[in-house]
Each structure stands twice: as structure tokens, then as C-alpha cells.
């Protein structure tokens, strides 16, 4: 039985990944939108870099509710976990989602977080932890994930060997539109694992006839038919096995297996001629496929059973030639991998631009090592390891680029220092002079304001005298002082005249007091405007002066620290790439050696069969001539 629960359970994860980052119609935070822009292109490193920075700033604010990210904070907290998951950083994704779970959020959000956490545990082959996370789901569950939660629960039960529980959950999902094909198929498998073979066959029969609308559902329907056909074949129910296998599409990923098994079903039922139809079709397909290679031997076997030994001998001869060529090809692939060509091919930039790059690997010129690795490339563990290798290469390229940018930064800083350093002493001297003048004027203004405020309660007309009036008053005072001791009539007359002048001035000051007081306030307000403009210029000058300094001072320590961190990370990436690459090569070579072994067996069988068939053909011909 070519299946294992952990693999089947992957469908649940796939289904739940359908929930992408939520985006409202009214985006309020451009940086969040920018993170989504990168994520939608599959650039998860860049997306994480943006979103991490945004979230870091948001959580560092005293009043985050006034930040534009606040409108999207729920989505952002989830998305960062999703991005990490897509970037294959399960540990961090788990932490991000646990943070949401432990936060003060409503039941729907908490339940979605628990679901996502369960999904991560499940993907990491930790079904026990996944079940624990699922058990935290209580109360409102967002409608769009309801089915996914239950589907995941069923898959977790299957991973834990609780097939009866899985059957119960999956039975409730048979009408789920989003899980069309998957829920039906997994129920069939759960029943089978639960020992309910007949019910499993009936269920797989239903799964094999679902009304599938998208590629995923159609493929799983093919898979259901293939599994059902195999089951029925093993139960010696060849006719129904044939019917089921016939339902598998001829252009789907399971068609080669289905054609091969359909042929064997016919052979088992004694219909050798009918077995030739699928096998001949299969024998004409891509020869690196294991089913095709088997068909190269199976088809002449059927001819020999039909006593068409001449045809069988020719086909065995063709098979022998093909196996010999393929063995050479596999040997060349192994040699090529050992020389490092496989890893070189993987990191070719033009290949990685294509979303179907794994498929395109097959068409790479001068890369024979990839011909036999398609199945291996598609396996989950190998695919993850491969993606990790590519991620490491991406990190390596970034780190190398950063190393060179430090030199550029230092150049910029050096140039700025050369430019500003000679200018700043003069600027600072002028600045200090200006600064003292500004402070003096501001102090004078404060003094005037205080006086005017005091005059509101204790009027002082003399304080509002004009400069000329103050000069006249002072002059009058000096004359009065000189005349103080004189008592002749002429001087007495002068004193009276002075008193009259003083009286006139006092009269004017007293009668014009209110007007002058209002005018003084107006002048003070006008002064305020001037001082405000002056203060603004002053602050601008301060900022510009600071900016000049900040443009080249204070970078030495962070650049040195970053240089060190980048160098350390690069060394770590290089080490890991070597190990990861070695691992990929080892696994690839093992796979090729397994294929080589199988090809060797086929070659031996073909060699024997070709001789045997020629003998039989010759005997048959002789017998016909004699008759």
C-alpha cells in the first residue's frame, strides 16, 4: 500500500494554507501594504524584514493606538506568522502565533491562532502538540476556517493512529465545498486504516467520482481511483479494479501508475491482449519513469503469453537497449552529482525565476543528474531540504552584497566628514553669536510682558512715555535739580515754567494712557510673531546643524558590529550550505543508485527474455515451416 498517514495528512495543511493574509479595502499603513507586496510575490524574507520592523516600532510606542498599523495589527500579527511559515521558519511562526494566543484577543481571533499553531505542529510531525492546540479552540470559530479546523483535527487523529475518531470527524465534512475530493479521499483512507475495508472501498469509490473543479481536487480524485484500483486488484476483483483505474486521467500525475496497474489487472484476469493497450501506451512515455521502465518488460511479456514471440523478442531487445542507455545515463548523473553539477544547476538564477522551477530542472541542458530525480524532488523532505539550500544561497548572496555596502557607507561617511568638518567651526561661532542675540531679545520681550501685566493692576503712565518724552522728563529733572537751591524771582519763574511743562507731559501721559497701553499690547503681539519666526529659524538651524553631525558621526560602532555579524553569519551560511548540499547530493545519489539497481535487474531480465523469446520465435517458425 503506497501511502503513509503523514503524507496524506499533508492535504490538511495544504487546505488550511488557503487562508492568506487578510487585506481590508482601506489600507491605512503603507509599510504593511509593502510587506504584503513582497509576500504576494513569494519574497518572504523581504516581507518579514518590513513587517518585523513595523511591528517592532508599533510595540515600542507609548500610544500605539495612534499608529497607522493599529488598524491592521490583528492581520499583521497573523501575517507575520504566515510569512514565517512560508519562509519555513516554524519555530518563529509558532512563537508569533503563541503571542497572539496569549494576548488579550476575542474568542474568534484566539481560535484562529490556535488553529494556526496546530497546523504548524502538525507540519512538524508533532501531532500530540497539534491536538493540544486544537483543544484550545472553544466558542466562536471564524466561518471561513471551520471546515479547515475539523479537517486538520481528522488528520491529527490519523497521525495519532485514532482512525475511528478521524472517521467520525471526516464523515461530517463530506459536503464541504472547499475540501471537495480531499475529505472524501481521507475518509476512505481512515476507514481502511481502521480495518473497515469494505466501507473503505465504497468510500474510495465515491471519492473517485466526485465532481472535481480545480486541479487539486481532480488530482486527488485520480489518487482515489488509483488506490481503489490497487485495493480491488489485491482483492482479485479485477473487473472493478479495471473500471476504477480507467477513471484516472491519462494526463494526470497518477496516469503512469494507473496504466501499469490496469495492465496487470487485465493480465491477472487472463486478458493478455487487453493488457497490451495500457502497456503499449505507457511504453511510449518518458523512459525515466519507473512505471514506464516496468512497462517495457511487461508489454513483451503479454505478447509472449499470446505466443507472438517474434514481436516479444523485438520488444525485449528494445527494452534491453533502453535499460543499457538508461544505466549509462544514471551513471553519468551520479558522476555529475559527485562533481557538484547538481547543486550548481539548482542555484541557476534563470531556473528560480519560474514558479515551476522543479519541473524545469528536467529540461536543463547539461544536467543529466536531474532526469531521474523528479520524484525525489517532489518528496516533502527532499523538497524542504532543497528549498533550504536555495534559501541559504539567497542569504549568502544578500550577506555578500551587504559586505560591499559597508565600504560604500564608509566612503559616504568619510566624504561627509571631509565636507563638514572645516565648515563647522565658523558655523558654530556664528551660531553662538546668533544664539546669544536671540536669547537677549527673548529676555527683553519677557521683561516687557511682565511690566505690561503689572500695569493691569497698578497703572504706570510714565512707563508708556515715548523716548522723546522720557528725554524731556529727564532734562526737566536735571533743570529742577540745578534750580533747587535758588530763590531769586527769575529762577522762581523758571521753576513754574518747568512745572507747567511737566504738568502738560503728565496730562498727556495720563489722558493717553489707555490708548498707549493698548498700542503697547499690539506691539508686543507683533513682537511675538517676529520672535516665533526667529525661533523657527533657530530650530531649523539647530536641526540642520545636528543633521550635519549625524550624517557622519556615530556610525563606527554599528558598522563595525554589523560587519562582524555579517561575517559570522556568512561563515555559518557557508558551513550550512556545504552540509545541506552534501546531504542533498547523498540522498540524490542514493536514489539514483536505487534506480540503477532496479534498471540492472530489468536489464538482466530483458537479456534473458530476449534470448528466450528468440528461441521460442525460432522454434515457432521452424514448427510452422515443418507443418
Amino acid at each position: 500500500m503506497p501511502r503513509a498517514p503523514s503524507r496524506l495528512l499533508g492535504f490538511g495543511l495544504a487546505a488550511s494554507l488557503a487562508a492568506g493574509p487578510s487585506l481590508g479595502n482601506d489600507l491605512k499603513d503603507l509599510h504593511f501594504g509593502e510587506a504584503l507586496f513582497h509576500a504576494y510575490q513569494g519574497h518572504y524574507f523581504d516581507a518579514l524584514q518590513r513587517l518585523d520592523t513595523e511591528l517592532g516600532q508599533y510595540h515600542g510606542l507609548d500610544e500605539p493606538q495612534y499608529d497607522s498599523l493599529h488598524y491592521h495589527i490583528g492581520a499583521a500579527e497573523f501575517d507575520v506568522g504566515d510569512f514565517e511559515l512560508n519562509y519555513r521558519m516554524h519555530h518563529r511562526a509558532g512563537r508569533a502565533i503563541r503571542a497572539v494566543l496569549e494576548g488579550n484577543v476575542d474568542a474568534a481571533v484566539r481560535n484562529e491562532a490556535a488553529f494556526r499553531l496546530a497546523r504548524i505542529h502538525f507540519q512538524k510531525d508533532q501531532p500530540g502538540d497539534a491536538l493540544q492546540a486544537l483543544q484550545r479552540i472553544q466558542g466562536d470559530v471564524p466561518r471561513e476556517i471551520e471546515d479547515d479546523v475539523e479537517f486538520l483535527r481528522a488528520n491529527v487523529y490519523m497521525a495519532l493512529g485514532r482512525y475511528g475518531d478521524a472517521v467520525e470527524v471526516l464523515a461530517g465534512l463530506q459536503r464541504s465545498e472547499s475540501l471537495t475530493g480531499f475529505a472524501e479521499y481521507n475518509l476512505g483512507i481512515a476507514l481502511l486504516q481502521d480495518g473497515q475495508t469494505q466501507r473503505a472501498i465504497d468510500q474510495l469509490d465515491r471519492a473517485g467520482q466526485v465532481d472535481a473543479r480545480d486541479g487539486g481536487s481532480v488530482a486527488i480524485r485520480d489518487k482515489a481511483n488509483l488506490v481503489l484500483g490497487t485495493l480491488l486488484f489485491e482483492s482479485a476483483d479485477y473487473q472493478r479494479a479495471e473500471q476504477s483505474l480507467d477513471r484516472v486521467r491519462l494526463d494526470g500525475p497518477f496516469s503512469n501508475q494507473a496504466l501499469l496497474r490496469a495492465g496487470w489487472a487485465e493480465v491477472s484476469a487472463g486478458n493478455f491482449e487487453r493488457a497490451l493497450v495500457p502497456w503499449n501506451m505507457l511504453a511510449a512515455r518518458e523512459v525515466t519513469d519507473a512505471a514506464v521502465q516496468e512497462a517495457l518488460l511487461a508489454a513483451p511479456f503479454a505478447y509472449s503469453k499470446l505466443n507472438v514471440h517474434g514481436r516479444a523478442a523485438l520488444m525485449y531487445g528494445h527494452a534491453l537497449e533502453t535499460y543499457t542507455n538508461e544505466l549509462d545515463r544514471v551513471d553519468a548523473s551520479i558522476d555529475s552529482i559527485r562533481k557538484g553539477s547538481f547543486l550548481e544547476a539548482l542555484v541557476r538564477e534563470e531556473i528560480r525565476q519560474d514558479k515551476d522551477w522543479v519541473i524545469r530542472l528536467r529540461t536543463l541542458p547539461e544536467s543529466p543528474e536531474t532526469y531521474y530525480l523528479m520524484a525525489l524532488l517532489a518528496s516533502h523532505d527532499f523538497h524542504t531540504a532543497l528549498q533550504n539550500y536555495l534559501d541559504l544561497e539567497d542569504l549568502r548572496v544578500r550577506l555578500v552584497a551587504w559586505q560591499t555596502s559597508f565600504d560604500a557607507f564608509e566612503d559616504i561617511i568619510g566624504l561627509r566628514e571631509q565636507n563638514y568638518e572645516p565648515l563647522l567651526p565658523d558655523v558654530d561661532a556664528q551660531f553662538r553669536e546668533l544664539d546669544s542675540q536671540i536669547r537677549l531679545r527673548v529676555a527683553q520681550r519677557e521683561h516687557l510682558d511682565e511690566r505690561l501685566q503689572g500695569m493691569l493692576t497698578a497703572p504706570r503712565p510714565d512707563h508708556l512715555a515715548t523716548a522723546d518724552e522720557r528725554v524731556v522728563l529727564e532734562r526737566l529733572g536735571q533743570i529742577e535739580a540745578r534750580l533747587a537751591d535758588a530763590d531769586d524771582p527769575q529762577q522762581q519763574e523758571l521753576r513754574e515754567r518747568i512745572a507747567r511743562v511737566r504738568g502738560t507731559l503728565t496730562w498727556r501721559l495720563r489722558t493717553e494712557y489707555h490708548e498707549r497701553f493698548t498700542l503697547a499690547h499690539q506691539h508686543l503681539q507683533e513682537l511675538d510673531t517676529v520672535i516665533a519666526a526667529m525661533t523657527q529659524s533657530y530650530e531649523s538651524l539647530v536641526r540642520t546643524r545636528q543633521a550635519a553631525t549625524h550624517s557622519y558621526v556615530g556610525y563606527d560602532v554599528p558598522i563595525t558590529r554589523l560587519r562582524k555579524r555579517v561575517a559570522e553569519a556568512l561563515a555559518k551560511v557557508d558551513r550550512l550550505m556545504a552540509r545541506q548540499g552534501h546531504m542533498l547530493e547523498t540522498v540524490a545519489i542514493k536514489e539514483l543508485q536505487a534506480r540503477r539497481e532496479r534498471l540492472g535487474e530489468y536489464q538482466a531480465q530483458a537479456r534473458f527474455a530476449v534470448a528466450d523469446s528468440y528461441d521460442r520465435a525460432t522454434r515457432q517458425q521452424t514448427s510452422e515451416v515443418q507443418n
Partner: protein
């Protein structure tokens, strides 16, 4: 993300057809390496964050920083080919979109098309757009707007819309 779902689902279906244990005993070793790869990714992300802050401080200090972002109006299906940005009459950005980038914009992503420096005060920004409308007609528009640069970083969000949406073809907003 339906596309991811489908791709992964198909990959897994494919995987189901593999002989069990194709990777076999190497699985544990792969897992161990995977843990280490996750750690180094975390380290590099942290470096990227610190480097980003340093770069911003050094190259785009907040008192002169200006950034221009491009977004498509909600559900707009126009095919955006290129965007050109001029600030105070000087061309500062000319961007030609790939299919993936256009798709990301249609899904609601926002692209930072330009980051640079201007002095505080009033400035003019001119946005020129070239593309095709869903019906196949050419779409060429230019819009000119004034914006005020203060002492804080200036973010200019440009939203592009097809004529049939009833929204302005080019609109800018402050963030």
C-alpha cells in the same frame, strides 16, 4: 492563498506516489539541518533589520526623507505596464512591472517605487502611468500634485484606478 494551496496540494499528491522511505534514514539529519537553517535565517533577518535602520538613518534622514508608494484601486484589473515619477521636474523613478509584481498590486500590495531626499517646504510631484485597460485600450495618464515636506519622513501614497471605477485615475494621499 489558493495558488499556494493548489501547488502544495499537487506536490503532496505527487509525493504520495513515491516509494515509502525514498529519503529514509537521512530524514533525521535533514530535520537537524532544517533547525539550523531556521536559526541562521533568524540571525540574518535580525541583521537586515539593524542594517535597514542604519541605512535609513544614513541615506534618508527623517528631516529630508520622502518615499513614494504605488497601489492599485481596490479590485482594479488594469494592466499596469510602467510608472514614472518626477519630483520638482526631475525624474526620480521609472519602473516597469513584471507579471508577479502586477499580480501583487492587484491583490492589495503596495510598492515603494522611490525613496529619496528633499528639503522641507512645498514640492511638486508628477506621476505618469502607462498600461492597458481590461478592454484592451491604452491607458496613459499624467497627474501633477503639490506636497508639503515637514521635518518628519514624508510618505506619498499614489493610488491608480481605471476610468470605469469612477475614481480619479491618479490620486495621492498622505500617510
Amino acid at each position: 492563498m489558493p495558488v499556494i494551496f493548489r501547488t502544495l496540494a499537487l506536490a503532496l499528491i505527487w509525493a504520495c506516489s513515491l516509494p515509502a522511505g525514498a529519503v529514509g534514514s537521512d530524514r533525521e539529519q535533514m530535520k537537524g539541518l532544517d533547525e539550523q537553517v531556521q536559526e541562521v535565517k533568524s540571525d540574518v533577518l535580525s541583521i537586515a533589520a539593524e542594517l535597514g535602520r542604519l541605512e535609513e538613518k544614513l541615506l534618508y534622514p527623517s528631516n529630508t526623507q520622502v518615499a513614494v508608494f504605488i497601489a492599485l484601486a481596490d479590485a482594479d484589473q488594469m494592466r499596469l505596464d510602467a510608472v514614472q515619477v518626477q519630483i520638482d521636474g526631475q525624474p526620480v523613478a521609472h519602473y516597469i512591472y513584471s507579471f508577479k509584481e502586477l499580480d501583487a498590486l492587484r491583490k492589495g500590495g503596495v510598492q515603494r517605487v522611490y525613496a529619496g531626499n528633499v528639503t522641507t517646504g512645498e514640492h511638486q510631484i508628477e506621476i505618469s502611468v502607462a498600461g492597458k485597460l481590461p478592454g484592451g485600450a491604452d491607458f496613459n495618464q499624467t497627474g501633477s500634485f503639490a506636497f508639503q515636506k515637514g521635518v518628519e519622513p514624508k510618505l506619498v501614497g499614489v493610488t491608480l484606478a481605471s476610468p470605469d471605477t469612477g475614481q480619479p485615475a491618479i490620486a495621492i494621499g498622505d500617510w
